[in-house]
């Protein structure tokens, strides 16, 4: 048993889904040609003035309301000073004292049970540009399209004690952002980024150990691996009587390790001060009332509703509500065919597997929820076998075809007609007199053999339930 306790705090940067940038009217569109969405404000030309985007304030406040933050009626912007070519002004406009939201919390559940993680603050800020470095011609190429794209930074309390809790917290935050429709939550494209502050201390010690800040964690798996590696590394250092250095460390996804990015001596000194170009932001109560009334049903509430309204297992309720798309897909399918558990099973197995493989989302599926409902209904009504349904699912997902038509075209309609099946059963019994005699002599296990023969004879189209029933009668 380890004698150390891990302490983790997380910083999430979420890119907001606004059309224009936070302080100018340039487009935020991803994938434009380099420097196409740039103006004098976001390229840091002298003499320009930033003007705050109203939507950014709304989105930041809504996130605060969703996680029970105190919303500061007055908040101010500050300059965070550092030099880097993709930060053309020489400072990032952010919030330092008086951020827009403070003191919220998120409830998570892990194997160890439920836990409440505190959120210290949420503040608004601008993103930096992007640079590409070329060793070949000894130059860096700067693209300012992303400069001034709006972000909120969500800072947690150092409340998490292992990587599993950290991942659960991140998933909860991401899910809420997506439900609020204020961030697309895409980790690979960088619209949902996370840094982890990790330290260890002997059990029982109150003071925190020296922390390292882990960066480059662009998937939940990386978060887990990077924290696990870092904890081991720090414990080894402490055990060997060495010091943990306060520093930024980059996660290397290929090696599964972290390495130092910059030491303490180079540690940044940002010299924050209030930004004189932006006037204080004072929120009116009427705006807050409006935003509060616009909050959608959030993941936790929806999960509870899925449990009570549809009688789903807690596992299914959690999985189906963690993505807003998936929850809406499920409810649309259930509206078309009211067998929630059956539909949940299809979504939780085959369809989730497909989405995991393609990296797609439920909202992008060509198979509409109504068509999935039709497929499930056909199985439940015995029109096709469950096996046939699974067999045609890949094609339905690929083409978005109507399941009823596809079943007809492929001749998969199940034989449930008792008189047709009775003839097949008689034929099979007549062809296998020895087995029939053995069965009658007490070898009842041969029931399975007969069912197999009948399925073969009908090319798998016989309804197994009807076959079983008819066969049992005949063998009496």
């Amino acid at each position: 048993m380890t004698r150390y306790e891990t302490v983790i705090g997380l910083e999430v940067h979420a890119q907001l889904k606004t059309r224009s940038k936070i302080f100018c009217s340039c487009s935020t569109q991803f994938g434009a040609d380099p420097n196409e969405n740039v103006c004098p404000v976001c390229s840091g030309m002298p003499g320009v003035l930033p003007v705050l985007n109203r939507k950014v304030v709304e989105y930041a406040a809504k996130m605060g309301l969703a996680i029970d933050c105190r919303i500061n009626r007055t908040s101010i912007f500050a300059r965070k000073n550092y030099f880097y070519p993709d930060l053309p002004k020489g400072y990032q406009t952010s919030q330092f004292e008086q951020p827009i939201c403070e003191h919220g919390h998120v409830d998570i559940v892990t194997a160890k049970g439920p836990k409440r993680v505190g959120v210290t603050r949420i503040h608004m800020e601008e993103d930096a540009g992007k640079s590409i470095h070329s060793a070949h011609d000894n130059a860096s190429y700067v693209d300012l399209n992303r400069s001034c794209v709006p972000l909120i930074e969500i800072v947690s309390e150092p409340d998490m004690r292992n990587a599993e809790e950290a991942v659960a917290y991140l998933k909860a935050i991401r899910s809420i952002l997506v439900y609020l429709d204020i961030c697309d939550g895409n980790m690979e494209e960088g619209s949902f980024r996370c840094d982890a502050n990790v330290s260890v201390r002997p059990f029982g010690q109150e003071a925190f150990g020296t922390r390292a800040e882990l960066k480059n964690l662009n998937s939940f798996k990386h978060v887990q691996k990077a924290i696990d590696f870092e904890v081991e590394r720090q414990i080894d250092l402490v055990e060997d009587g060495e010091q943990v250095v306060q520093e930024t460390r980059l996660f290397d996804a290929n090696k599964g390790t972290t390495h130092s990015m910059r030491g303490k001596e180079e540690a940044h000194d940002y010299r924050y001060f209030p930004c004189p170009d932006l006037v204080p932001l004072v929120l009116q109560e009427s705006w807050l009332d409006q935003w509060r009334s616009e909050l959608p049903e959030l993941p936790k509430a929806r999960e509870q509703r899925f449990l009570s309204q549809y009688g789903l297992s807690s596992d299914a309720a959690e999985v189906l509500t963690s993505e807003r798309d998936m929850a809406e897909y499920f409810e649309a399918a259930v509206a078309a065919f009211a067998e929630p558990k059956k539909i949940a099973n299809w979504l939780m197995t085959d369809i989730l597997r497909e989405l995991n493989q393609t990296g797609g989302r439920a909202g992008d599926l060509l198979l509409t929820p109504q068509n999935l409902a039709t497929l499930v209904r056909m199985v439940e009504e015995g029109a096709i076998s469950a096996k046939s349904a699974k067999d045609i699912l890949p094609e339905l997902l690929l083409t978005g075809a109507d399941p009823e038509e596809l079943v007809k075209a492929k001749g998969l309609v199940q034989i449930s007609d008792t008189s047709a099946l009775a003839a097949d059963i008689d034929a099979v019994l007549a062809e296998n007199p020895k087995e029939l005699a053995d069965y009658r002599a007490g070898k009842t296990k041969l029931m399975g053999f007969f069912v197999g023969q009948i399925m073969r004879r009908t090319k798998g189209q016989a309804n197994p339930a009807v076959v079983n029933q008819l066969l049992a009668e005949k063998l009496k």
Partner: protein, 94 residues
């Protein structure tokens, strides 16, 4: 001394200013005078006064989330130290 030459050297380094030792001493003296004057102001009791972040009366100046494109890339890159027509090009930093 309100500010030491070492602190002045540090602030200069953070601002990417390359100062000679003579300049560091000179600025330390000048900044010390300014900070001394601030201390004089601090003698007033301001505990009941809200900090002022701006002398401007306006609050909450905002714009709607509407996209506008007022400048071509060519115009923006005209201010680049060096460009290939698509990027700002600067000495390599990594």
């Amino acid at each position: 001394m309100k500010i030491s030459p070492e602190e002045v050297a540090k602030v200069a380094r953070l601002a990417r200013l390359d100062l000679t030792p003579e300049k560091i001493d000179q600025y330390a003296g000048q900044l010390d005078g300014i900070l001394g004057y601030m201390d004089k102001l601090s003698e007033l009791d301001t505990s009941s006064v809200e900090p002022m972040y701006t002398p401007v009366d306006q609050i909450s100046v905002m714009r709607d989330d509407v996209v506008r494109k007022d400048f071509t890339r060519e115009e923006i890159l005209r201010n680049a130290p060096e460009t290939d027509g698509a990027f700002f090009i600067v000495p390599r930093i990594v």
